[in-house]
């Protein structure tokens, strides 16, 4: 069984919570006691039907305000796949949450109200998905029951979205007409829309091909920690522990250690369950080298003939996540893979209006939820790839040097 992580975003009214509630309910991931609690809450509120959106309500403060303020993670499984949903609020104030949810997802579910068509929020969510290089988008045209299940209404939305999406960099976009409230085309094909010949939403989620989403070309192994057992039987053992971030490593491969540039050969790839001949992403393993050289956390093991960039000047597209904007000349801890360096923002090249996708070149004042293209300078060389090539070695976060808060997320561009 494969694992598929997908993200959703939406506002209170577009039926996102109802859709998630429906997926959980129809895939039998909701237990009786949870359902009973939701039924009781619905009755207390004087609702006529069971409000499935209550299934995804979280914290007390959220329920009081009737909004979602944070990313919530939901789980369901079918016999074919296990799903992790990062459920994020869609309002502009929550761009940082959308970015967070998108960062770990390989698919985005975009909800469009059939009556209103593509609106600002649809564009915002899709644009963020494309900036974070989510390879697959499913556009659910929801509330088809309110437009008489009309094929024409559906086609109109598809045309609108298609035109907008031509400006985005997304390879795989699919469209499904649904009614989350009644369940049409969510799990089963709808009898109300016999003109729709495609698969239902769940069917699409179960079968969409995600096997090629990982980078299997550029071998990258960021070292997390060094394993040195203090036992006689493993006297000279030095294992470099980490999670493969790209490519395929094999025993006997000639490798380079960055940033030192030293070279060696892979002696063994070890796991608790026994040694491996080859390892690929996202496996956690330990690599032992033939030569006794100095390797530590923050170093990267790569193949001799395929190396990442090493440098101190980087172009970053960042999303600012803190209520206080960057202070002029401020230093930040920059974390990328297992590496940590100090960095400054040298120059704001432009900001991006995430509703229109236009560049704003005059305004350099970065505030919370802003997306901006910046030039950064690091104190020590960073080892990286372009984000579009590798989402792990091409991503970074900034940590405020005084408050230790995570203040920005960035993708590296070359």
């Amino acid at each position: 069984m494969e694992l598929l992580r997908f993200t959703t975003a939406g506002s209170v009214d577009d039926g996102k919570s109802t859709l998630i509630g429906r997926l959980l309910y129809d895939s039998k991931s909701i237990f009786e006691d949870q359902m009973e609690a939701v039924k009781q809450s619905s009755e207390r509120k004087g609702l006529q039907h069971v409000d499935l959106s209550l299934l995804t309500d979280g914290l007390r403060s959220e329920r009081e305000q009737g909004i979602t303020i944070d990313v919530a993670y939901r789980y369901f499984a079918t016999p074919k796949r296990k799903f992790i949903i990062s459920d994020t609020p869609g309002h502009i104030q929550y761009t940082r949450n959308m970015v967070t949810g998108a960062s770990t997802s390989n698919l985005a579910l975009v909800l469009v109200d059939a009556r209103h068509g593509v609106i600002e929020q649809t564009c915002r969510h899709s644009f963020i998905a494309s900036l974070l290089r989510i390879p697959h988008i499913i556009v659910c045209v929801n509330k088809m029951d309110l437009v008489g299940y009309s094929e024409e209404a559906f086609n109109k939305v598809v045309e609108q979205y298609h035109e907008f999406a031509s400006k985005l960099d997304i390879k795989d976009i699919r469209y499904i007409p649904i009614s989350a409230l009644d369940g049409d085309n969510v799990v089963n094909r709808s009898e109300n829309m016999s003109w729709y010949k495609g698969a239902s939403l769940l069917d699409t989620l179960e079968t969409i091909h995600i096997g090629s989403d990982e980078n299997h070309l550029d071998a990258r192994f960021p070292v997390q920690t060094v394993i040195r057992p203090h036992a006689d039987e493993y006297h000279d053992y030095r294992g470099y522990a980490g999670r493969i971030a790209g490519g395929i490593f094999r025993t006997g491969d000639k490798v380079t250690i960055l940033p030192s540039g030293m070279t060696s050969k892979i002696k063994s790839i070890d796991t608790f369950d026994g040694p491996l001949q080859e390892a690929f992403p996202p496996m956690s393993v330990s690599i032992c080298l033939e030569d006794d050289i100095d390797v530590s956390r923050g170093d990267m093991i790569v193949k001799n003939n395929n190396q990442p960039e090493v440098g101190q000047d980087i172009d970053v597209l960042m999303c600012w996540m803190s209520s206080k904007g960057p202070r002029p000349g401020a230093k930040y801890y920059l974390k990328s893979t297992t590496n940590e360096v100090m960095a400054i923002i040298k120059e704001v090249i432009y900001k991006i209006d995430i509703n229109t996708m236009q560049r704003i070149e005059q305004d350099n004042d970065i505030k919370m939820n802003d997306m901006a293209r910046v030039k950064m300078r690091t104190t020590r060389p960073l080892i990286f790839d372009e984000y579009r090539r590798n989402r792990i070695t091409g991503s970074l976060i900034l940590i405020d040097e005084a408050t230790y808060e995570t203040v920005a997320a960035g993708t590296i561009h070359c």
Binding site: M1, E2, L3, F31, E32, D33, Q34, A37, D57, G58, L59, D70, A72, Y73, R74, Y75, A77, R81, K82, I84, R96, N97, V99, T100, S103, T104, H209, G211, S212, E214, Q224, T225, I227, P229, A231, Y237, G242, I248, D270, T271, F272, D273, F280, P282, M283, S284, S286, M321, K335, S336, T338, I392, S395, L396, I397, I399, Y404, E405, T406, A409
Partner: protein, 302 residues
């Protein structure tokens, strides 16, 4: 197209958890594993073993002892610690009560569940633990659905759900000031089903309490509460002999069981996959109010 370079969901979840555990060892000076004797902390401990193989787990286990334990849990804990050859730190709720740091609850439903918070925070402080790893999962409870892998706690050990650090990709920010600490949850993305399937796949030993056995119990609030020296009978309640098992393990006074025939891991997996109620539905600590988990978590609960 068939692709041989892919992991199934349990392999991917395992790899993710090992990555998180190694980040803890790398980013913190004095990490520890919170060990309750329940299946989730058993899985976390097993994953830690895999993460540092062939070395020993480079951190101690912490057990918060309410004094109201199942004896099976304590035996299991001691055997595991001896096998792993690592240190065990026990935080005693009885000691906190004796010292006047905590006050015993009274009444028919009295439990020491909330008192664990005091002992846990005292133990973390006394041993200067800067990262305490636990087996909490996001699917367990709605307040946990928004929990981070690396969850920051202030100098009072408290959780501020509205002011959590965003967590992106697989980059974890473990920076903290003196006196603050982190709770880390390597199996955040696992469901109850994943945990059982993994225990079956790895053939992990678990306390006998999880398997169907004969036991004296009383029926209260929709679940079978085990008879023990701490149980106060209500009027009309009677002790019966039941063939039963536990889906979750906590304090003996609050852990209800279910009638079950599942006496093997295979049968448990089948039972769990067919079941229609949540595991925490058996826990009276979560039934106190709609937000009882959120409230306890803010104070510093597991």
């Amino acid at each position: 197209m068939y692709n041989k370079y892919y992991l199934n969901h349990l392999q991917e979840l395992e790899s993710e958890a090992i990555y998180v555990i190694r980040e803890v060892a790398a980013q913190f000076d004095r990490p520890a594993i919170l060990f309750s004797g329940g299946k989730d902390s058993i899985v976390v401990t097993h994953l830690a073993r895999k993460a540092f193989f062939p070395a020993r787990i480079p951190m101690p286990l912490i057990h918060i002892d309410t004094g109201h334990n199942f004896s099976e849990t304590i035996e299991f804990r001691d055997k595991l610690v001896a096998e792993l050859g690592i240190q065990l730190i026990v935080g005693s709720v009885q000691e906190a009560i004796d010292k006047g740091r905590a006050v015993e609850e009274r009444g028919i439903n009295a439990s020491r569940n909330e008192l664990q918070i005091v002992s846990l925070l005292d133990t973390i402080e006394a041993h200067k633990i800067d990262a305490a790893m636990g087996g909490a999962r996001r699917d367990e409870e709605k307040a946990r659905a928004k929990e981070r892998f690396f969850s920051h706690r202030d100098e009072f050990g408290q959780w501020d759900p509205k002011n959590q650090r965003p967590e992106l990709w697989n980059i974890f920010n473990g920076r903290k000031r003196m006196g603050e600490h982190f709770r880390v949850f390597p199996i955040s993305n696992w469901t109850e089903m994943d945990v059982w399937n993994y225990i079956l796949q790895e053939n992990l030993p678990i306390p006998s309490l999880y398997f169907a056995h004969h036991r004296e119990a009383i029926f209260r609030d929709g679940t079978w509460l085990p008879n023990s020296e701490f149980l106060v009978l209500r009027e009309g309640e009677k002790i019966e002999m039941k063939y039963m098992r536990f889906r979750t393990l906590g304090d003996i006074t609050i852990t209800g069981g279910i009638e079950s025939e599942a006496d093997s891991l295979e049968k448990i997996v089948m039972e769990v996959s067919a079941t229609r109620s949540t595991e925490r539905g058996m826990r009276s600590d979560d039934k106190r109010s709609d937000t009882s988990m959120e409230d306890r978590k803010k104070q510093g609960y597991f």
